[in-house]
Amino acid sequence: MTLRKILLGAAAATTLALVSGAASAEGTKIGMITTLSGSGAGLGIDVRDGFMLAVKQGGGKLGGKAVDVLIEDDAQAPDKAKQIAEKFVKKDEVKVMTGIIWSNLALAVVPGVLKDGVTYISTNAGPSQLAGEKCDPGYFNVAWQNDNLHEGTGKYVNDAGFKNVFLLAPNYPAGKDAIAGFQRYYKGGVAGSLFTKVGQTDYAAEIAAIRDAKPDAVYFFLPGGMGIAFMKQLQQAGLKVPVFGPAFSFDQDVLPAIGDAALGVKNASQWSKDLDNPANKAFVAAFQKEYGRLPSLYASQGYDAAHLIGSALKSTDPKDAKAFQAAVKKADFASVRGAFVFGPNNHPVQDIYVREVVKEGDVLTNKVIGVAFRNHQDAYVDLCKMQ
């Protein structure tokens, strides 16, 4: 190949890149606000990677329509998330948004963008307000309502016959929802309950209190690094008490850091990597191939969100919000968790599974061992007055 040919080739490639760039700019814009920096970044990165895997598999298209996904980092700060949302609405004229991880950010952003005619697809945050009195035809949650996984664990712990459980959660709205959700289905006694500081990393004082209270089990909701620290310290303290939690503290993003201390722990989730359906098998294999790691439940939620949006894009355009939202509501896509429908408040009606942490070779992961609920509906649906 001569130098001339190389130069020509390079020029052609550049033109091609420019053209394809222009083409993607004409695609339907999807605004993703998620957490990509700071200590909560692992969750947002998994949601993004799951979502973009679906886009990549479609060759830059969702539902056969070209999409242009604008991704911005909210750094887990509500004011920053609000600024990004405003920019998406005013400057980029985005009509579909997704990606927020944290409930306090969702409550800051979602009601505002809905007024601007945006359709919002939640990939993670499911605060009770948006499922109940603040429900909206433009708001869909493709993951769960916040209480769901706690309810699932509560049901399992109750059915397993535990009578004296110690409760532990961070002192913020989702922490209180967690305890309320757990106790909605757990009817036994409470050995004690403690609310800890958000972001706390040393649980020595709490573990001493648990030892002193002599419970027959511990239920805790401590997402991210908090749960890692608690599980390690509990094991190091030599306290032999069964622990239970929602999937957030026992999924693929944190298991390697907890290590063997997590083995055997039962936790509730709407998804698991071993769920036996074709969509899930393809997703797990493709995710592993693309990113070199196992997907977490957050990644599955991002992937489902992309396919949900794609299912509506097939026949409608988000600029016609009413038609688009009607199409989203049909949920005509193959969810990786199997059967999936929206309830009247646009939150999923779905199975909640009980999983156990197991070791496959050297890798800690989860295995489904039972079902806590079939077609579970959240507790706030009756508060939703949406037509």
């Binding site: 920096s37 990165i45 040393d202 303290a237």
Partner: protein
């Protein structure tokens, strides 16, 4: 509530205090000797934890990871001092805050870039994984006892270093009058680098030791940095003795507050309210103590400059 419970909580408070001392000793030295506010001290703590976890993971030995973490933190500290801090000594505190804050961002995203987003695994070495029985049916992890021992050794070592060695003399002289010891022929540039690296190494030690208890992840240094500043303000800026006393005070107040405030409040209000109010009060307790001490002694407990 048993005597073992009280004893366990006291030990927890001391252990937390010792960890805070390792963190704040370097911070207070750097502030006292160089007049520098270093917000990136928490990043050096993170470097110690990450390198320790990475080496321990690769070799299978915590005992190789620990010195590696210390060396890496000291080296990162020395590099930061030579490349960045030197330009900041003559600037005002606001410039220092801005520059060291940007260092936090660089360290955090750099760590994410090298080690990825997932927290790393670091567990305590098998040698220290036992539990020491306490009276009654209580128990206390051997590893936490080891951290307390390390803290005592470091406190004694720092005391000897500062009061008995030539380097210590120079550090004390540097606190008193920077220009003068420069004029007397002390190589102040090297002195500053050494002090900064020493502080970084202590922060790295805290990170590596605590990393085995908690989760080794990006951003782990920020929360402990705030507590370290509380400690040096209570103790008197620049005073190692003040840092030790204040660290133990903060550790005990925080731990005992978390352990007992919710229980105490059940005497005056319903249990469900006592839980949330008690934990909210407990997380405020150290700041209330700080405010009270500063009202009583505005320069802290042991002000280094009289």
């Amino acid at each position: 509530m048993s005597a073992a419970f009280l004893l366990e909580q006291l030990l927890n408070g001391v252990q937390f205090g010792v960890m805070l001392f390792l963190m704040s000793a370097g911070l207070t030295l750097v502030f006292g000797v160089m007049g520098l506010i270093n917000l990136a001290h928490g990043s050096l703590y993170m470097v110690g934890a990450f390198v320790c976890a990475w080496v321990a993971g690769a070799t299978g030995s915590f005992w190789l990871g620990l010195p590696a973490g210390l060396i890496a933190a000291a080296a990162a500290g020395a590099a930061v001092e030579v490349l960045v801090m030197r330009r900041l000594y003559d600037r005002d505190h606001l410039d220092q805050v801005l520059a060291t804050f940007s260092l936090i961002l660089i360290f955090s995203e750099g760590t994410r870039w090298i080690f990825g987003n997932q927290p790393l695994y670091l567990n305590i070495p098998p040698l220290l994984s036992g539990v020491i029985p306490l009276p009654g049916d209580g128990g206390y992890p051997l590893y936490r006892v080891a951290i307390i021992a390390v803290g005592i050794v470091v406190a004694i070592g720092l005391y000897l270093l500062i009061s008995r060695t030539r380097l210590g003399m120079q550090i004390r002289a540097g606190e008193a009058d920077r220009e003068m010891i420069g004029a007397l022929g002390v190589d102040i540039k090297t002195l500053y680098t050494v002090v900064f690296a020493l502080g970084a190494m202590l922060a790295g030690a805290a990170g590596a030791l605590v990393g085995a208890l908690q989760s080794v992840q990006v951003g782990m240094g920020e929360s402990v940095l705030i507590l370290a500043f509380v400690v040096i303000v209570i103790g008197g800026i620049g005073s190692i003795k003040g840092a030790l006393v204040a660290a133990l005070l903060v550790g005990l107040v925080d731990t005992l507050g978390r352990a007992f405030l919710p229980r105490l409040l059940t005497l005056v209000m319903p249990a469900s309210d006592a839980g949330t109010t008690g934990s909210a009060l407990a997380s405020m307790a150290i700041y209330l103590v700080m405010a009270a001490i500063l009202a009583w002694r505005p320069k802290g407990l042991f002000p280094a400059h009289g």
